[in-house]
């Protein structure tokens, strides 16, 4: 769908690495240029017309994000550099002051590094314990296993909505309900889900949600931290400086601004945020449900064909997202990726930043296809054609 909107697709490539980043439609690129060419002043000044215009454009995007994820208040939307920064801000700004020695954080072994390392940091500095929810045979998280994994010391559950290697969609709403009954906070890493699955933070009732613009057709270097207002009020800013302070005279008299500005120190990525707004409008015009539906069909088409190739081992046959991880038997994933690259097919090889997942699936490195709405059945046919001949892969991978 909508291939004509993406200038990158004018060249001869098949892009299957949407889990890493998505391509940008022309309207998003144009919006970036519009800022730099027409009103390229700083935000939050407003003393002259173009500066006022910047403020309007920038804050307008906060409204678009609020509507996109159905947040209750504008102040619940904090702009960051990306999901990684957002997760660090939650772990360090909210949970570091709150958690005590012996408190437990629950994650899984299929989380991305960004949802592992900030918690390991708290384990090493605060004596917090990081525990893992056991995954089922399909490497899924089930509510039953969450129930089994919690203890009276569990204070936080932090999970990706969709994981970046297995691609499973977690039952977030059910987990949130259960967590809250037990006074446990729920943090959701939405990096892989936000552009693929309708996200309603009030319906899901998550405490924090993090995501990146660049994985939903927006620019790189922009992300969001959503938090329930009463919780965000207690997030300590990790970055101090211009924009976020109200006044200061000496070290004892410092006053910070209110949300959301308090957590957005320094000149933000103005062009990025403004262009991000265009990405949201663009995706909404297509319809997230329509995207999800199409991806599901594409994935089924891909899986059905991959299964028929005897020397391909699929890690996640079952999965409702557009992510498929697999290996060609006895060939290192990176060599297959190099081979596909010779035919301008872009796929990712490696551990995909999920370095503790190998303990769970028994495979360290995989090839990953991550689909988006501009991928086509014909592209999948070409991929399958290239993967069907193992002799050819061995012949041409060098």
């Amino acid at each position: 769908m909508n291939r004509e909107d993406f200038p990158m697709l004018n060249q001869d490539i098949i892009y299957f690495d949407n889990g890493a980043t998505t391509l940008k439609p022309k309207c998003v690129i144009d919006k970036t240029v519009e800022y730099y060419e027409k009103y390229g002043a700083n935000a939050h000044r407003g003393d002259y017309d173009i500066s006022y215009k910047v403020d309007q454009e920038y804050e307008n995007v906060r409204g678009l994000v609020k509507k996109f994820i159905n947040a209750k208040y504008l102040e619940e939307i904090i702009f960051t550099a990306g999901s990684t920064e957002s997760l660090n801000l939650v772990a360090r700004g909210f949970f570091e002051p709150l958690l005590e020695v012996g408190d437990e954080v629950l994650i899984t072994k299929s989380e991305h590094a960004s949802n592992v390392l900030p918690w390991f940091y708290l384990a090493n500095t605060k004596g917090v314990k990081v525990n893992y929810i056991p995954l089922d045979d399909n490497h899924y998280v089930t509510l039953e296993n969450v129930k089994k994994a919690i203890t009276p010391n569990t204070k936080v559950i932090s999970l990706a909505y969709i994981t970046n290697v297995i691609g499973d969609i977690r039952p977030i709403k059910e987990i949130a309900e259960f967590a809250h009954k037990n006074n446990i906070f729920l943090v959701v890493d939405g990096a892989q889900s936000i552009g693929h699955l309708k996200t309603d933070v009030q319906d899901l009732d998550v405490d924090f949600l993090t995501f990146s613009a660049h994985k939903m057709c927006g620019p790189t270097g922009v992300g969001v931290l959503y938090g329930k207002k009463e919780l965000l009020e207690n997030v300590e800013p990790l970055i101090l400086g211009g924009g976020m302070n109200e006044s200061f005279d000496n070290e004892n008299e410092i006053y910070y601004k209110d949300l959301p500005t308090r957590l957005e120190a320094g000149t933000p990525n103005i062009a990025g945020v403004i262009a991000f707004g265009k990405a949201i409008e663009y995706l909404e015009a297509i319809g997230i449900d329509k995207i999800a539906d199409y991806e599901k069909k594409l994935r089924k088409y891909l899986i059905d064909k991959l299964i028929s190739i005897p020397f391909i081992d699929i890690i996640n046959i079952e999965s409702d997202s557009g992510i498929v991880s697999f290996n060609v038997t006895d060939i290192f994933s990176q060599d297959v990726a190099y081979y596909l690259n010779k035919y301008n097919v872009c796929v990712r090889a490696g551990n995909h930043c999920a370095k503790i997942l190998k303990n769970e699936v028994g495979v360290k490195n995989t090839l990953r296809i991550s689909l988006y709405f501009y991928n086509t059945y014909e592209e999948i046919d070409e991929l399958i054609d290239l993967l069907s001949n193992k002799e050819k892969i061995l012949e041409e991978m060098l």
């Binding site: 990176q334 190099y338 490696g350 060098l398």
Partner: protein, 142 residues
């Protein structure tokens, strides 16, 4: 070098890598070789006595170019002195980086003489040398 011969040597050393085994013997210097841009990750074990590289082994998971390059490097350097090895390393690196080198020294490693044409694979060929240099440095420090 003939294209088919080149491919045969690389594939042979990839599919049947020589000296690939985990070493527990404490006399060996163990170093890790990895680079940030890819997922290759190998351990290299080097036994150096009286300035001679008496034995070298490796273990780990890596792509065809890295694995074969490691296998070939090890076969070429077992029994060589530390100074001969350094000369070999320098020549190999120069070859990969398109600088002047002495092709009489490199034997089978000449299969990578045109690897520079695939920029993203240069680091694969160089991977084992990162570890070997670390091991020699450690030996010299002691």
């Amino acid at each position: 070098m003939d294209e088919n011969l080149r491919r045969d040597i690389i594939l042979d050393n990839y599919q049947n890598p020589r000296n690939k085994e985990i070493v527990l013997d404490k006399r060996y210097i163990k170093v890790n070789s990895n680079n940030e841009s890819c997922i290759d990750n190998i351990d290299i074990y080097v036994l150096i006595e009286d300035d001679i590289l008496k034995d070298i082994k490796f273990s780990g998971e890596a792509c065809a170019i890295s694995t074969s390059s490691t296998s070939i490097m090890i076969q070429n350097l077992i029994g060589k002195s530390v100074s001969e090895s350094k000369m070999y390393i320098e020549n190999f690196e120069n070859m990969v980086q398109e600088l002047a080198y002495d092709n009489n020294l490199l034997n089978e490693a000449l299969v990578y003489s045109e690897i520079y044409k695939q920029g993203n694979r240069k680091n694969c060929a160089l991977l084992p040398y990162i570890g070997l240099k670390k091991a020699i440095k450690q030996y010299e420090k002691n």
